[in-house]
């Protein structure tokens, strides 16, 4: 859920909800570019690593380079693995060698090996030699020295922090469906996205912070300020973003003024295996930034709209009408029903879009019914998503209720500390939340300083579901109801046995969902 930057106090500012006058003005759609500030200060950025295709010894000649067999398996030439039957004499082994290949020679048996490695001429076919050995009664087995590789593991240096990907078996899922494709559009219905280099002129009005004890502080107007924006380096790409729209400002520039939507988008589609930052689940999809939630800077800048049910409903309909196949809604509220949102969600599902909705972070704040998430439980093709910690148990904040349908990693500082949260690239918040400084130090924000930041919440859990849903769409499951059924059918049961109010049908299992059913297993 969108966590407000100002929890203990309310903001009062003139102009919010009024006409935007002539601001913001997009001064230029380029900027000096993003400053990638790595991970959180204090963590220390890791040594940078370039893309690595393969490690190869420099003294190895091309004759010994890996080769592919007819079956597609890769093997090392010049070597055959043979297990002779116990008790076979050395002379019998040598005889077997000469009959299998004129160049075969026994090498010294290595520690922890109960088999022999036979060297042969690198130009010989080791599979044929292995077959020759295997046909002998005194040989248990023989095979070529096939290369063994790890499952797809992204080379993004901060991937090591992403326990969340391992918890949903993402690496083996990427083997099946590597990142979907640009034909699949995922709409992020959120606070906007750091998707565009730009310099935008805003009129920053004065505002007043009112604390819960009744005291207040007044912040001065900054007047016209030119605010730099940059596309997140690990999100950007050619034609990566499609049909952006801002329902808070009623324009086509849904830039993120808080960092929430950018973080959420990272989990869905961060550029992956590019040697930079973190990984995303469906890293080849196109992203549709749809801004429907405002935050402090929107208020200070005097946005004409707020993140209300109608704004959200419009955003949902817009996304469905513009070709999004998956809608991520890491948003929500408690209180009275939201028929306008429900109607919009049903409309989107009817247009063939799958919708994932955050189940809420209010467990310790009264555990009230989450209105938007609760809608999902009535719509086949929309799911509500609870958050799990590193240990696959419900995160302490994750709202419970019968509307919870699925769960995914949302992180928890109470299990694993900061390392137990979800890392993605978003703004360096010290350049964004300048309104948290004393009035004398208060200054204009920057939205071009990006960083790998740990967040927790059902907002972070939901994009895992959206990402896997996008992979499923690429696999050919396009009916939103079928996507929901598949995610629920193959989820790993967590919490109390069976469907429960904490984790729903369980934690999504990306690999099992994408792999589906065989004939008998």
């Amino acid at each position: 859920m969108l966590a407000s930057a100002v929890l203990a106090f309310a903001l009062v500012a003139p102009g919010h909800g009024q006409s935007p006058e002539s601001y913001p003005i997009l001064l230029q759609d380029v900027s000096a570019g993003a400053v990638d500030r790595g991970v959180l200060p204090g963590e220390g950025p890791p040594p940078s690593k370039g893309p690595r295709v393969r490690a190869e010894r420099v003294d190895r000649t091309s004759a010994y380079a890996d080769r592919a067999s007819a079956s597609g398996a890769t093997y090392m030439p010049g070597r055959v693995i043979v297990k002779f039957r116990d008790g076979m004499s050395t002379s019998a082994r040598l005889s077997a060698l000469s009959s299998a290949s004129p160049t075969a020679a026994l090498t010294t048996q290595k520690p922890y090996a109960n088999f022999d490695t036979i060297s042969i001429d690198p130009n010989e076919d080791p599979e044929a030699v292995a077959r020759s050995f295997a046909s002998r009664p005194d040989v248990e087995y023989a095979q070529a020295a096939y290369r063994v590789r790890p499952y797809f593991v992204p080379n993004d240096p901060e991937y090591r922090r992403q326990w969340n990907m391992l918890n949903i078996d993402m690496e083996r899922a990427w083997d099946i469906q590597p990142g979907s494709s640009s034909t699949v559009v995922v709409a992020v219905i959120d606070t906007g996205i750091a998707y565009q280099d730009a310099i935008v002129r805003y009129n920053a009005r004065g505002f007043r912070v009112v604390f819960s004890n009744g005291t207040s502080i007044t912040y001065p107007a900054l007047g016209l300020i030119d605010v730099p924006f940059a596309a997140a380096p690990d999100l950007r790409g050619t034609n990566r973003f499609v049909a952006p729209h801002d329902f808070i400002w009623e324009n086509n520039l849904p830039v993120d003024l808080v960092g929430h939507g950018t973080h959420v988008t990272g989990t869905i589609g961060q550029n992956t295996n590019n040697g930079v930052g973190t990984a995303g689940i469906a890293y080849n999809v196109r992203i549709m930034p749809v801004k429907v939630i405002d935050d402090v800077w929107d208020l200070i800048f005097g946005s004409p709209n707020e993140g209300t049910d109608d704004t959200v409903a419009r955003g949902v309909r817009y996304a469905a009408d513009n070709g999004a196949k998956v809608l991520n809604m890491s948003i929500g509220r408690s209180g009275p029903p939201a028929p306008v949102v429900e109607d919009a969600i049903k409309y989107a599902v009817g247009k063939g879009a799958f919708v994932a909705i955050a189940a809420g972070n209010g467990f310790e704040d009264g555990n009230q019914t989450e209105v938007v998430a609760e809608i999902a439980s009535r719509v086949q093709g929309a799911v509500s998503v609870a958050a799990l910690d590193q240990q696959h148990t419900r995160a302490y904040y994750s709202t419970t209720g019968p509307w919870v349908e699925l769960s995914a990693p949302g992180g928890s500082t109470r299990v694993g500390g900061e390392q137990g949260t979800v890392y993605q690239q978003t703004y360096d918040l010290s350049f964004v939340e300048t309104f948290n400084l004393p009035p004398a130090q208060y200054h204009a924000p920057r939205f071009d300083m990006l960083q790998i930041v740990p967040f927790q919440g059902t907002s972070m859990a939901t994009p895992h579901v959206s990402g896997v849903a996008a992979l499923l769409v690429q696999q050919g499951i396009t009916d939103p109801a079928a996507i929901e059924a598949a995610l629920e059918r193959f989820a790993s049961d967590r919490g109390p046995a069976g469907k429960d109010n904490q984790t729903g049908y369980g934690e999504i299992s990306a690999r099992n969902t994408l792999r589906g059913l065989g004939l008998s297993k």
């Binding site: 050919g476 079928a482 589906g516």
Partner: protein, 221 residues
């Protein structure tokens, strides 16, 4: 299965004297004196089988039937009784699936199954007509079932054996002294070999058998 096979073999041998003696009055074309007491023969077979697990095979392969090829040998005892052993093989590649609302959703992940039945059967041949020999029999089958698919990890693929009964009935046509062809209906029942997981569980189908039309080319008398 072993017990059943033994029973069949024993039954066949017990039948031998009586059928042989009963044979003597029948002297249409091949007289008993010219037809050997034991006539070993070899054959190759082709069959097209409609699987009992119809929905399961339809979901994976878009086809509930499949072709087997194989070979075998039979031994005709005193012209009327036969015992037969045969090996055959079926292999086909389909796709892994997901079932929702009775609609099969293909996932584009290749899945190959292999069936290798080994059968032992015996029965009776009616030698009333000179060139056409109707026959019927019963037997046992032992089947090796393998299921492999792309992206399988350890333990994902399946390789199991099972057994069941077969029934067959058809007619053999003698084309020449040492060449014949036959066509028969062959029904096998191989229960509990599938149905514990996968799409077969979703459909509640557990039998790997089916009904086949078999064609054989027989070398021998």
């Amino acid at each position: 299965m072993t017990r059943l096979a033994s029973t069949l073999l024993l039954g066949s041998l017990l039948l031998l004297p009586s059928t042989a003696s009963a044979q003597s009055p029948v002297s249409s074309n091949s007289t008993p004196s010219t037809y050997p007491m034991f006539s070993p023969r070899g054959f190759v077979l082709f069959s097209r089988q409609q699987f009992q697990a119809e929905k399961t095979f339809e979901a994976i392969f878009d086809d509930a039937s499949g072709s087997f090829r194989g070979f075998g040998a039979d031994l005709v005892l005193a012209r009327n009784v036969f015992v037969e052993i045969g090996w055959s093989r079926f292999e086909k590649t389909g796709e892994r699936v997901f079932l929702f609302n009775n609609t099969v959703n293909k996932l584009g992940i290749p899945l190959t199954i292999t069936l290798r039945p080994f059968e032992f059967s015996g029965g009776y041949r009616v030698t009333v007509w000179p060139r056409v020999i109707p026959y019927g029999g019963i037997g046992v089958a032992s089947v090796r079932y393998e299921e492999t698919s792309d992206f399988a990890a350890t333990g994902d693929d399946v390789s199991v054996s099972g057994s069941g009964v077969v029934f067959l009935g058809g007619a053999e046509v003698r084309l020449a002294r040492f060449i014949g062809v036959s066509a028969d209906i062959h029904h096998s029942s191989l229960g509990d070999m599938i149905g514990k997981g996968g799409i077969s569980k979703e459909y509640g189908e557990d039998n790997l058998g089916g009904t086949a039309v078999r064609f054989r080319i027989i070398i021998g008398r």
